[in-house]
């Protein structure tokens, strides 16, 4: 019995491994589990006896035959009626539960998951799953500490790791080698919730933190603007009687003060009162410098004012007015400084940044001026959303049929060798050496496969174009003066753009769907979005070609973005991110599933010379054979 429990425990750990089926089969067929245990699994003895009790409940579940479809499992589960205890035993290390990654998103929507924690390293998909989770964790914690518990940014779903639900990176072999241990648990969610969570996860919610800096600046600015008025008003309020009367010169100063304040306010509004578009990881040095400067200025002016004017109750009002005017002048100059530092200095190009996306190699070159790394990163990301074609993970890898050919001869090693880790490196090296020596024709296969895919895409594109053209001929704009011309025999019904779009969508729907499938774009365009786009094009009298431009070429990422939420990027750099750009720097901007690697090169110094050519010096002779008689 104990060995059986041991068996169960190791199953618990390695829930995603081909060994699982073996063990399950062993259970069913009654083979002694001992041999199996030694052959391929990591059977450890548990320090906690309580865990074994909780595991006992799983033994019943494991009597399920392990052929998988979620429907059958849920039906069988209902047969067994096992209830998964949420707090039971805290199996495995770590406190939080992680669900099994759901199967590919085209499986049914009824799949339910339960919390399940494991730290197995023995299987491909769980390793991938764990890596994804770790990456997410390090991103969310902003550190590289591998933590055992996970926090999710999205509120309201505390126990689910939404990072793991990227259905795009689907592992086609996943279903065959895993068990889904399900139960009716409190924290089960459906597939739609998970995709929604994924969207939440990708984009960060609007935090209040992003308004902290501008709020501070706003307060300081307001204070600075109110100060001259306070300087003027306070003597009048406090010791009006003893003030020297001050006639025309003061009034002149009042006017100049008023206009300067007005200009200050207008330019502050124009330049600085804009919603910030990015939160930077570190302080924006120039901005902090300027805020500090303003604060210092105003504080020192107040200090002087307090000591020299308020205390002795200075009676020279003209001097006070002049003092206030000088403060406004100083504020205008600080604003000039701010303009130069924040807006103008980086306009002259000084560096060329090469940006390469790691997943598919799309690259661009940009010219920037003298910026710090974080500011350059923000500017770059603005350009990224415009220029780079959208990242389509489905288009990436070589088809498995080509790559797996190399491995097929050596597959026999993988299953049996999991115990001897010190042999595995040597074996893998020999495998690689043998594979390289083996004559393979994968390049020809790749070539032919590429040609085949290209041909298929072109064929579908041709069908799509013809279908769309034909569909567009079915409708035309209804001119009001034509009303009398239409014959009473077949009255034409007048439709609004939405109905017209729905009417002509039907004949082209199939061709469109097949084309999108061929170019792997089907996740970006839902039927609803296609009809919306069609309606848009019809409203603006676009031709079929204009309608199709959205689908024929992958547009910039901005097109597919939901702009109501922010996007989370991580800036990875060896140097502090507030340091200025220098030659040879490399930093990268990381996102969940890809990153942009940026290399900095300075623009060359241009030595421009001059050469003057007199227009009269352009002379030509004919090349000819002249004949002279002698």
């Amino acid at each position: 019995m104990s060995t059986r429990k041991q068996l169960v425990y190791s199953l618990q750990l390695d829930s995603v491994s081909p060994v699982l089926e073996v063990c399950g089969a062993a259970q069913l067929s009654g083979d002694p589990p001992q041999s199996r245990c030694e052959a391929g699994m990591r059977c450890e003895s548990l320090p906690f006896a309580s865990k074994i009790d909780s595991l006992r409940s799983k033994v019943d579940l494991l009597r399920l035959p392990l052929a998988l479809s979620t429907k059958s499992i849920s039906s069988r589960k209902s047969q067994l009626g096992v209830v998964w205890e949420k707090g039971g035993g805290g199996s495995g290390a770590g406190g939080a539960r992680k669900p099994r990654p759901p199967p590919a998103s085209d499986m049914d929507n009824e799949s339910t998951y339960s919390g399940y924690s494991y730290k197995s390293s023995q299987s491909r998909s769980s390793r991938k799953h764990r890596d994804r989770r770790d990456r997410h964790r390090s991103k969310s914690r902003d550190s590289s500490i591998r933590d055992k518990s996970v926090t999710i940014q999205a509120p309201g779903e505390p126990l689910l790791d939404a990072e793991s639900t990227r259905g795009d990176d689907r592992d086609d072999n996943w279903g065959e080698t895993t068990t889904v241990v399900t139960g009716t648990s409190v924290d089960s969610v459906s597939n739609e919730d998970l995709t929604r969570l994924k969207d939440l996860e990708d984009s960060s919610p609007l935090q209040c933190r992003r308004f902290l800096g501008p709020a501070l600046g706003g307060v300081l600015g307001l204070f600075a603007v109110v100060t001259p008025l306070a300087f003027l008003a306070l003597p009048q309020l406090l010791w009006r009687d003893t003030l020297e009367p001050c006639g025309t010169p003061c009034e002149g100063l009042y006017i100049s003060l008023a206009f300067k304040l007005l200009i200050l306010l207008i330019s502050t509004w124009a330049l600085f009162l804009r919603p910030p578009r990015a939160t930077l990881p570190r302080f924006f040095i120039f901005r902090c410098l300027l805020l500090a400067l303003v604060f210092l200025f105003v504080a020192s002016y107040w200090l002087f004012y307090g000591v020299r004017v308020l205390e002795p109750r200075e009676t020279d009002y003209r001097g006070i007015v002049g003092y206030a005017a000088s403060l406004v002048d100083a504020l205008l100059f600080i604003q000039y400084l701010a303009l130069v530092l924040l807006e103008v200095r980086h306009l002259q190009p000084a560096f060329c940044l090469k940006v390469v996306r790691t997943t598919d190699g799309a690259s661009r070159f940009y010219n920037v001026g003298h910026l710090s790394i974080q500011r350059a990163a923000v500017w770059l990301l603005d350009q990224y959303y415009n220029d780079f074609p959208v990242y389509n993970p489905a288009l990436l890898n070589l088809p498995k049929s080509i790559l797996s050919k190399k491995m097929s001869a050596f597959k026999v090693y993988n299953l049996g060798e999991e115990n001897s880790t010190n042999n595995s490196t040597g074996q893998s090296r020999t495998m690689i050496a043998a594979a390289s020596r083996k004559r393979d024709n994968s390049h020809t296969e790749y070539y032919y496969e590429e040609a085949e895919v290209e041909r298929r895409v072109r064929k579908r594109k041709a069908r799509l174009v013809v279908a769309v053209e034909e569909a567009f001929t079915h409708i035309k704009r209804h001119q009001d003066d034509e009303g009398s011309v239409s014959s009473p025999k077949h009255p034409r019904e007048v439709m609004d753009p939405r109905e017209a779009a729905q009417a002509i969508f039907a004949p082209m729907a199939r061709a469109m769907q097949k084309y999108l499938r061929a170019t792997r774009q089907q996740s970006y365009h839902s039927m609803e979005s296609i009809i919306n786009h069609l309606q848009f094009c019809i409203t603006h009298s676009m031709t079929p070609k204009a309608f199709l431009e959205l689908y024929l070429s992958p547009g910039p990422t901005l097109q597919y973005l939901d702009t109501s939420r922010g996007r989370q990027w991580t800036l990875v750099s060896e140097e502090p991110v507030t340091s200025a750009l220098r030659q040879g720097q490399v930093f990268s901007l990381r996102r969940l599933d890809f990153s942009l690697v940026v290399t900095v090169t300075p623009l060359p110094f241009l030595n421009l010379g001059e050469e003057f050519i007199d227009p009269k010096r352009h002379k030509f002779v004919m090349k000819m054979q002249s004949e002279t008689s002698v």
Partner: protein
């Protein structure tokens, strides 16, 4: 007209032709026309074998003139005039060399393809014997 290698001496079979100038009014004429020269376009020369040859060629012979009586033929390349080399001359310099007013006779060294072949044939005949 053997292919020349720049910088190496040129070897050719030449024929000596002596032309007596004919006085016609104020001019002394020779009775033929020349073409070519280092300042001319050698590709348009119809008489040369090597189209990079910038030498001076005889392009026309006036019938009954002194050149015809002296057995100058059309297509001859003039190698020397009165001892002066003509292979690297501009067109104008060549004309001046030929029309010097104080010379009555010009002694030319000319080469033509048929000369080469004649020599080859005679040598071949000799060898066969």
């Amino acid at each position: 007209m053997s292919n020349f290698i720049p910088g190496q001496p040129l070897v050719a079979v030449v024929q000596r032709i002596e032309i007596k100038k004919l006085r016609q009014g104020d001019n002394l004429i020779l009775g033929f026309s020349i073409g070519g020269g280092i300042d001319q376009d050698p590709g348009q020369n119809p008489f040369s074998d090597d189209k990079a040859d910038k030498g001076i060629y005889v392009t026309r012979i006036t019938p009954g003139g002194p050149a015809e009586t002296a057995d100058l033929r059309m297509g001859d390349k003039i190698m020397q005039v009165n001892g002066y080399d003509m292979t690297m001359m501009t067109h104008d310099q060549a004309r001046k060399r030929l029309t010097k007013k104080n010379e009555d006779i010009v002694r030319l060294l000319v080469t033509r393809k048929s000369l080469e072949e004649a020599v080859k044939n005679s040598m071949g005949g000799y060898q066969r014997q």
